[in-house]
Amino acid sequence: MINLIKKLFLFALALSLYAQQGNDRVALAGAQGSAINADSESVLTSEPVLTDEEKLCKEVAEDLMDIYDNWSPERDYRILFPRIRDFTENFYKEYPDFNLKIIEKDRLGQELNDYERRSLVAFKGTRNDKIFEEVSRFITTKDFYWGYIEDSLSAAIDEAADKIKNYTYSRKDILLAEHEDFVDALLVQLRKLDMQLDSIKNISDEKILDDLLADEYYNNEMLDIEFEIDSAKTRNEAKNIIEKLYNERDIRIIAYIKNKKKEIIENKRLEKIAAKDYWVEEKRQTVFDLYELEKARLSDIVYGFTSPMEEERDILSFDISPEFIKRLHENDPAVSDEFKLQIKHKFYGGLVGAFGSAVIFDEIPVFRTFRTNVLIGTFLFMILFFYIFLKVKKNRESLFIRKIPGLDAIDDAVGRATEMGKPIVYDSGIGYYTQIDTIASMLILRSVAKKVAEFKAEIYVPTCDPIVMQISEEMVASGFLDAGFPEDHKKDNIFYLAADQFAFAAGIAGILSRKKPATAFHFGYYAAESLLISEAGFAAGAIQVAGTTAVAQIPFFITACDYTLIGEELYAAAAYISRDPQIMTNLKLSDFAKVVIGFLFILGTIVLTINSEWTFLQDLLFTR
């Protein structure tokens, strides 16, 4: 009985415990559920937690949107709308039958008749060139833009930009410290790669073989060989064939290992080079570069906040559609509002651009410290120049000047023209008067003209720029005056030919083939027309002397001309011809500077070969 009571008691206890447990579970589930519901509600209802930086960017985004909201397109509309209406009316006056079907036909690639094609081109012109560009120019061109918007708006844009600027300035020390850490990390990475490269060079063949087992091509080839071995086992001469195939397999495995090793080393080497370049580049970043990077980063955050605001306001890109022009022509009253909206869209684009331009870091010091090396270098060069200049002045008799055969030939070339009774053609290339090659060419022209006058020959100077023509005229006149025969100068022989490169080349080729000159000089800046001109001169039988600093054209001149001045010889030519030792400093200085630069090259190569991290010489010579 007692046992029965005990069992009943235990059963009741177990039941109550089970019931208690179930209630707890339900209670727990209820508690958790309510908590989750509470969390999800709080997520749905409360704002996401923003950092101070994000708050600032959001504030800037809201400032920009305020400017957009407060801007009225009325004034632009009043000015631009009559203009675009005029463009459209003029177009429809000229092509009264134009309709949108032509655009559709063109879009589908169907053939258009002459009228349709012409009208479509004119339509595109109206749409793109006239209306679109007119509005773009008016709204976004800075002069118009700033002239148009009120000062208060301009100040508001500056105020928004200042927030970003001031925040960036306040982070100057952090940016510098972070960048320093970053550069150090890059150096560590570089060293790691260097060590990896060294260890890869000593990697065992077994290790490479492990890598090869993951290579699909390798496995396929090995499978093929194994298959052939298995097939060969069934033949009579199996032993020899199997042996041969095993040998073949071993040769292939060795070849694979060799190539794989080479590939791994090469990849690592390239990775190391890229890491080094990156490190060197980052090392040279100034605080202003860091400001610009920070500006880009913060701008991205700002635009992240403006994007939903743009969607709220339905801001789209400016687009004058064909339908818009048609409706404008049909005097649809809704067009006015649509155009105002388009102008507002355009304004938004301009506003974003203006904001970007307003974030300028004007903390840049008056002296650009990162160019100190150039300042010192040019000073040293000038000191060297005057030193050599004075030295040349003192020892002008004993001075050795290397021979330039092309310039020595000028006397003979001019003399040849006199003997043959044929003219000389001198052209100065396609360079403008601001280019140093053209200036050098003008200096040579004076000396050549002097010789031409002395030898009583005739000179033609076709030019491709009117100002160069004026200078050439002056140079030839001065040359004739220097020789004492100003009356022999014919003004009409110096003329403007064409500004276009190939039209100019064709013109000179024509002159060369018609006049059949005894001598042709080509000194100045040339591009693809160099060979066209010099080959025409060759075909005409002229003795030709050319000179240019355009490296790509020198081979053409060397091929087609009798004498060619290479690079800096062009700059020294005038002085060389005039035999003025003082001005011949040019040649001496160039040679001297070339020795110095050559020495620096060798030194740099040695230093970097010893240790690739010793970039001090590179940094010293680097500028931007």
Partner: protein
């Protein structure tokens, strides 16, 4: 004074441009802007000078029957383009644009395409072994030509690599040497002109 004043202007202009490279600020920016605007103004005036020159030269040719019909033809084309541009503008679809697109551009392209033939004839002349240097040139040229076509690779797989090496190593070295010389020569010439040591560009 005819020479001294231009030399002084040149000197101050050079110093201003030189300092602008090192110093920031509105003064130097304006200084630079002053000269760039000056260049632009001169370029506009030069257009008139160019037209006058073309008219003068062609007038004398027509008058003295020196290639008369070429000049007449040239003057007619110029006049026609000016008239069309004045009457109907220069935008796409206008007669001026048609003359430019269907007349000028094909002629321009024709002259440019002549280059291919000239390259062949010039190469034929220069690829003759007259000295050791020209032998080197010939060998290098043949290797480069072969490296640029599939035949070269078919002949020997290393030919493209050799061609690439010739272009990257010796050719680049030569080019850079010429460029260094040219820059140094240009710099020296700049100093000569800026300090008035070179006067031959100034007329008497």
């Amino acid at each position: 004074m005819k020479k001294e004043i231009p030399i002084l202007i040149g000197f101050f202009a050079t110093i201003g441009w030189y300092l602008e490279f090192f110093f920031a600020g509105t003064f130097f920016e304006n200084w630079k802007m002053f000269f760039t605007t000056g260049f632009r103004s001169v370029a506009i005036v030069s257009l008139i000078v160019g037209i006058v020159s073309v008219l003068r030269v062609n007038y004398s040719k027509i008058k003295y029957n020196n290639d008369r019909w070429f000049s007449v033809y040239q003057m007619c084309i110029i006049a026609l383009m000016i008239i069309f541009a004045s009457l109907r503008g220069v935008s796409p679809g206008t007669p001026f644009d048609a003359m430019f697109t269907f007349g000028f551009i094909p002629l321009d392209a024709t002259v440019f395409s002549l280059l291919a033939f000239y390259v062949a004839s010039a190469a034929y002349r220069s690829f003759k072994i007259k000295s050791i240097e020209s032998a080197f040139l010939l060998v290098a040229a043949i290797l480069i030509m072969l490296s640029k076509m599939p035949l070269g690779e078919a002949m020997w797989s290393k030919i493209p690599t050799i061609g690439e090496w010739i272009m990257d190593a010796p050719t680049s070295a030569g080019k850079r040497a010429i460029l260094f010389g040219a820059f140094l020569g240009g710099l020296t010439m700049m100093i000569r002109i800026a300090f008035g040591l070179e006067k031959s560009h100034l007329s008497d």
